[in-house]
């Protein structure tokens, strides 16, 4: 495919602009607080890793970091487990109310979260899921399961039905066919879906903060602690901010090839 001659330059300029605010935050995280507020400079004059030492030196900081990673992974696994059979059903069969059910599932992504907070708080407390990793993982299924079904259904519809029929003739039962033949065929779809579940669960704060207090508190919620009577600890805030980006960057690196390939075989 042809590309315009200047496209390359413009693209990398765009990427540079995209990185600028993130790099600026990184720059703040490695400067002492008096330098941040005292003088404006493009390049930090004094470099310190005190903020990072503070972060990893305090249990409450890094345990909330781990909490986020645990519930996010749990959510991705659980969303996939319930979404896979459903997506298969939508892509292969017609059944009573299928179209309505599909749209209804999608509408759950559209619920304004602000008002769900209070019912969530009450329900999770009454069933004993309050402040647990499992609780947050289940709550995040609200928006991840519909999305997972939607993405997977697209991929699965791209796989010819003849494969199912051939397997049935060969004597495969549906569960065995699904696990042994079908799942390996949509590996990249599963990768892409897991990536999206991870992403939306990782970036969500409002619900996660409401149904946790200590044991499962997400990292993003811990960041409010940097604001105290003495003002904002900009350095530490920036440090926590930088560290919340790291797991995401690692995950993208692993699924980078699936993103393009995966989508291509799906919904297009």
């Amino acid at each position: 495919m042809r590309r315009l001659p200047w496209a390359r330059t413009v693209f990398w300029l765009y990427v540079a602009t995209l990185m600028l605010p993130i790099l600026w935050m990184f720059g703040m995280s490695i400067r002492p607080n008096q330098d941040i507020l005292g003088s404006f400079s493009l390049i930090p004059e004094r470099v310190t890793f005190d903020n990072y030492a503070t972060f990893f030196g305090e249990t409450s900081w890094y345990s909330s970091y781990l909490n986020s990673i645990i519930y996010t992974s749990l959510n991705a696994v659980m969303s996939l487990i319930v979404a896979l059979p459903a997506a298969y059903a939508f892509s292969r069969f017609r059944f009573a109310g299928d179209k309505h059910l599909f749209f209804w599932l999608l509408t759950n992504r559209m619920a304004p979260p602000a008002v769900f907070l209070l019912p969530f708080f009450q329900i999770y407390q009454s069933v004993g899921l309050f402040d647990t990793h499992l609780g947050v993982a289940i709550a995040h299924m609200l928006f991840n399961v519909p999305l997972a079904v939607w993405i997977l259904e697209g991929f699965m519809s791209g796989i010819p039905r003849e494969i199912d029929e051939t397997a049935a003739i060969d004597g495969y039962s549906l569960p065995r066919f699904f696990v042994r033949i079908f799942l390996p065929m949509i590996r990249s779809a599963i990768g892409v879906t897991a990536f999206f579940c991870f992403m939306f669960s990782w970036v969500e704060l409002l619900i996660a903060r409401t149904i946790t207090s200590v044991n499962a508190k997400p990292i993003a919620a811990s960041m409010t602690r940097t604001v105290s009577a003495a003002g904002v600890d900009w350095g530490l805030l920036a440090t926590a901010g930088v560290l919340t980006i790291v797991p995401g960057a690692i995950v993208i690196w692993f699924v980078r090839n699936y993103i393009a390939k995966g989508f291509a075989m799906g919904r297009v």
Partner: protein, 317 residues
């Protein structure tokens, strides 16, 4: 099986009557999928999990919306009173117009920009991986951290962006005092944050176009623009449907990022529906009006999404 269907549909509020038999018959002709109601067993886990996370809380909200709650034991049924009050409230109307305007601007900027970025993206070599990872990075940042990044970046004293506008361009820029500056900061933040999603979806769409299409275009001597307009753009319809829907929903419900950056201010310049809603629900603890508000809000988003979805999926056939 049929009663399960009803159970699943009715709480959503968007359920419609079953399609007339004529449509069913027409579907059967074009749709090769066999009809099998046992497929309900496969979707059952999804229905159960979403029922727990969505339907029960939604029912609670419906319950609030028709009552005046004085205390857990004292409640009065007030019917649709709260709905009328919310629909007439000038503050809600103001926030509604602002949110709609914001979503419109977001879609108008992000969709073309995202497609342009996807077209310009490298296609071969290591630079593909680097480009994908860097472009996707803003999407993996927790939303309040996105707010924090821009809160810092746009400040005139310690942020590069704000500092550059004030000192290099010489324009007085302060997003905590000026309404236009606050609006622009939130808008630029959203474009920064979400254009990558559109770009990635569009890039995946472009990659799926078979090479012979381009060879044919080259033989015909088609210009780059003609190639884009007649080959690439039509093939992007599917992914752009997803992109437009996702971007509309999420921009219309934007909360965390502007809350961190501006807190809805200055005045109510960036007070979007969700910010106003959580002020009523969590700040003032007016559960009745908040319940009615969120149901109307939810309904509006659903209707618009349904319209988008129908228009976008039908236009290509």
């Amino acid at each position: 099986m049929t009663d399960q269907t009803t159970v699943a549909q009715s709480p959503s509020g968007a359920a419609e009557p079953a399609p007339p038999p004529a449509e069913e018959a027409k579907d059967a002709r074009v749709d090769p999928r066999p009809k099998n109601n046992r497929a309900w067993w496969l979707v059952l886990p999804v229905v159960v999990s979403v029922a727990f996370t969505a339907v029960i809380p939604l029912m609670t909200v419906v319950n609030y919306s028709v009552q005046d709650v004085f205390s857990p034991s004292e409640r009065i049924f007030v019917g649709l009173e709260w709905f009328r009050e919310i629909a007439r409230d000038p503050e809600v109307r103001g926030a509604f117009v602002r949110t709609l305007l914001f979503s419109a601007q977001v879609l108008l900027i992000e969709i073309p920009l995202g497609v342009a970025v996807a077209v310009a993206m490298p296609r071969r070599g290591v630079s593909v991986s680097v480009a994908l990872v860097l472009v996707a990075l803003p999407l993996l940042i927790p939303w309040n951290v996105v707010g924090t990044i821009w809160q810092i970046f746009a400040r005139g004293d310690i942020g590069l962006g704000g500092w550059a506008i004030n000192n290099v361009l010489g324009v007085n820029f302060n997003y905590t005092l000026d309404s236009t500056d606050a609006w622009l900061t939130v808008l630029v933040m959203d474009v920064w944050h979400w254009t990558p999603l559109v770009a990635l979806l569009a890039y995946a769409g472009l990659r799926s176009i078979p090479q012979p299409y381009f060879q044919a275009a080259q033989i015909d001597g088609a210009s780059a623009w003609a190639t884009f307009r007649h080959i690439q753009l039509p093939r992007l319809r599917g992914v752009l449907t997803i992109a437009i829907l996702l971007r509309f929903m999420d921009s219309f419900m934007i909360y965390t990022e502007p809350f961190v950056v501006t807190g809805g201010g200055p005045g109510n310049a960036t007070s979007f529906l969700s910010i106003l809603l959580s002020k009523i629900a969590v700040g003032q603890f007016d559960l009745g009006p908040a319940g009615a508000f969120s149901l109307l809000y939810f309904l509006f988003v659903q209707i618009l999404c349904y319209v988008f979805f129908t228009v976008l999926t039908r236009s290509g056939r």
